[in-house]
């Protein structure tokens, strides 16, 4: 079974929440669920869509065409109608053919505001799928607790209305245990916490903000929104200097502001973790839409040469593990580390098993204030022992000697710069075996990165391709490939170009309209 449901309405209609609750409903029956949220940079009005796909096999994407559309506004209906290939449930306040439910009348009767039509739409959905109402009631209660009463009343009214006039279109059977639903943002945040995050600073920017929203509610984490992205990254560096695992998160524009401080972390050898959640660019682009245009920017974000790690998760589960892995790398090598992700991964929800656990790889930290500490001691590996106050530790953005004292001595500079750069080679060997993930078997290989993996994998399985995904983009490990089809969401083919530089012959498949690839589109392009 594979069902793709689209709920559309205006911003302020509670479309996003309806999508999440529908996803919870499907997850209850043991299905794999993926929710893609499409919305505009508008607080009220416009058009929002929550595309909820469920399947009895593992999925990581939504589909282009809808088996069912639940529509709350007529103009939104017009926009999304071309993709409807099945039934329509709509609010009878406007006219169009399909299953009409008087959602507006129901909420008026209950004297609730317009937003409660989302509860009515869920009631109708439950009836459409022949689900016992108790189950939907429990989904509401789990989400809203005692406040769920009004939602339940309205959903029930819509449910009964449907049953009195229409037949259920299918019957949803339980195929397994209830699955947990997780967003990419939560997976990233939980991954960081598992690797010891205690301090998080971020300035609001779509699509990275949900990470801040989630962490700010955690009482064991110091999370704060300072005056700017520059302040956020500076605070993260300050906290790491004082010995706490810290991070910051932003999107391309904010990342640009952080550039100078990333270079500082490189010179001062401070562990710094930055989440860069890409959206449509350049500049403000389309603030709430998807893109993969920042690969080179993330790989080389700032002036000068310094060792760095850039990693890119391809699924919600992977976002959890890779965030933790990258935090450990930042601390082990005392370098800036960038988690490069994208809107479709961060803001999408998926059924995934993520358990917070201790993933911290401890490093030795000197805290003794006895004597003067050689923070930048030249060692064979290039890694000096980390020290934090009360050790007399001197961090420096200037070139410095082993104690951290400013210098422009040619021989000290030569030695220090080499010491730092050595670490990238060490890191390269460290990640070599986990830099790429390969899936399936096939005559040709599709290479992709980030959330584009979801639709690619699905189609590759059908069409007989092998799939290769880089987890690490820097240090970049050359995959053993002579040629590849490279699928990514930018105009120039950034990953494709990177592979070409490493001698791989590539065929580009690109899209840059702000909407994530769907398997349907890729089937046409790759079939």
């Amino acid at each position: 079974m594979d069902l793709n449901v689209c709920i559309v309405g205006a911003a302020g209609d509670g479309v996003k929440e309806a999508g999440e609750l529908a996803a919870e409903l499907f997850a209850h029956f043991g299905y794999s669920v993926f929710v893609y949220q499409e919305y505009q940079s508008i607080i009220r009005g416009g058009h929002n869509a929550s595309i909820v796909r469920m399947s009895d096999r593992e999925i990581n994407s939504h589909r282009k065409y809808f088996d069912l559309m639940i529509c709350l506004e007529d103009y939104a209906y017009e926009l999304y109608r071309p993709y409807l290939r099945g039934d329509l449930i709509y609010d009878t306040k406007f006219k169009c053919g399909g299953i009409g439910i008087p959602m507006t009348e129901i909420i008026k009767e209950e004297q609730e505001p317009n937003i409660f039509r989302n509860a009515a739409s869920l009631g109708a959905l439950a009836a459409y799928l022949d689900i016992e109402f108790d189950i939907l009631e429990r989904i509401f209660s789990d989400r809203f607790g005692a406040r769920a009463k009004d939602d339940i009343t309205i959903a029930k009214a819509a449910y009964e209305y449907y049953r009195s006039r229409y037949d259920p279109k299918m019957r949803l059977e339980k195929i397994g245990r209830r699955k947990k639903l997780v967003s990419g943002a939560v997976a990233i945040a939980e991954g960081l916490i598992s690797a010891g995050l205690t301090h998080f600073y971020a300035y609001p920017m779509t699509p990275a903000s949900p990470i801040l929203h989630y962490l700010i509610k955690k009482r064991e984490i110091v999370a704060y929104q300072p005056e700017s992205e520059i302040a956020a990254v500076g605070m993260a560096i300050g906290s790491a200097y004082a010995g706490k695992r810290s991070a910051t998160g932003t999107s391309g524009g904010g990342f640009a502001l952080m550039a100078e401080s990333i270079s500082l972390a490189g010179m001062a050898e401070i562990p710094l973790l930055v989440i860069e959640a890409q959206r449509t660019s350049p500049s403000t682009g389309m603030a709430t839409y998807h893109g993969q245009e920042d690969l080179y920017f993330a790989m080389h974000p700032a002036h000068g040469e310094f060792p760095m790690a850039v990693a890119c998760p391809y699924s919600v589960e992977e976002a959890f593990y890779l965030s933790a892995e990258l935090m450990n790398i930042a601390w082990k090598y005392q370098i800036p580390a960038i988690l490069l992700t994208d809107k479709n991964l961060v803001e999408s929800y998926k059924t995934a098993e993520i358990e917070r656990t201790n993933l911290i790889e401890e490093i030795e930290i000197v805290k003794s204030s006895e004597g003067e500490y050689m923070r930048y001691e030249v060692t064979e590996s290039g890694i000096s022992k980390y020290a934090v106050p009360p050790a007399i530790v001197k961090a420096n953005s200037n070139e410095h000697d082993e104690f951290g004292i400013t210098t422009d001595d040619a021989s000290v500079r030569t030695q220090m710069h080499e010491k730092r750069m050595l670490k990238e080679n060490l890191l390269r060997e460290d990640i070599r075996d986990r830099a790429w993930k390969f899936f399936l078997k096939g005559k040709d290989t599709i290479v992709t990165w980030g959330s584009t993996f979801g639709p690619v994998y699905e189609v590759a399985e059908e069409l007989g391709y092998r799939v290769a995904v880089p987890r690490y983009l820097r240090p970049f490990i050359k995959p053993g490939l002579a040629h590849a089809v490279v699928v990514e969401q930018n105009y120039t083919g950034q990953l494709a170009k990177l592979l070409e530089m490493h001698g791989v012959e590539v065929k580009r498949v690109n899209k840059w309209d702000g909407r994530p690839f769907t398997p349907d589109e890729l089937r046409e392009l790759l079939g």
Partner: protein
Amino acid sequence: MKSKIEWCPGCGNFGILKAFRRVIERLESEGVKRGRIVSVAGIGCHGRMPDYLDIPTFHTIHGRVLPLMTGIKLANPELLVSGFSGDGDALNEGMEHFIHAAKRNTDVALFLHNNQVFGLTTGQFTATTPRGKKTRTTPAGNPEWPINPALIALVSGATFIARGFAGNVSQLSDLMYDAIKHRGFAFVEILQPCITFNNTWDYYRENVYVAEPAESFDEALKLVSDGVATGLLFRTEKQTFEETLLNSLRVPKKSCERDMRSREFHSDP
């Protein structure tokens, strides 16, 4: 770890360094270990301070002294965090951080070396350069009116505002010490002659005077506006940023609570 001092002979920074070294000695004599006294510095002539101090330091990039100090204090409230910044560093590139640090009353002390000129980059105008002054980048005279940093600190919500003079080391040292002891955002503007590009030694020696602290905010507005008034200008009490933020969390906040009970520093645990 002794470094050769690389300021111009006659630079106001010598007095500031001397004053701060006295603060370290004074805190040590009270049982505070040097490792707990952490200082950050930005870019400019003042940025050399960390090299000359035997305490934990962070020499950061231009304008970013305060975010680092805030991050350090939030990570370890047991540390006594102070920072050195220049007029260009704090008020040109770093202005947003300056206003916001005062606004949130973060528990750190900022020492502003105000010589009204970019010294290290050889004499361009800054946010505090007097109107009409000819500099390398204002050959016809500075067309802008200068900012009064103490006034900005006051109206932004700083709870300790003082002004010292690099030529009065003992007064400056006391002000720095009190600023570090103060719970909340403490700001000390230091009138600092730049011997090479803005030699104000004679002017300050003749004009600075020691004022009595203002009793009210309105009085303080007037007092801080007088750019040659030195000493503690205004002091008030507010909950600090760290107390507010950390008290709502389940994270270590020992030192915040301890400092709230007592003004005095305790020796190291």
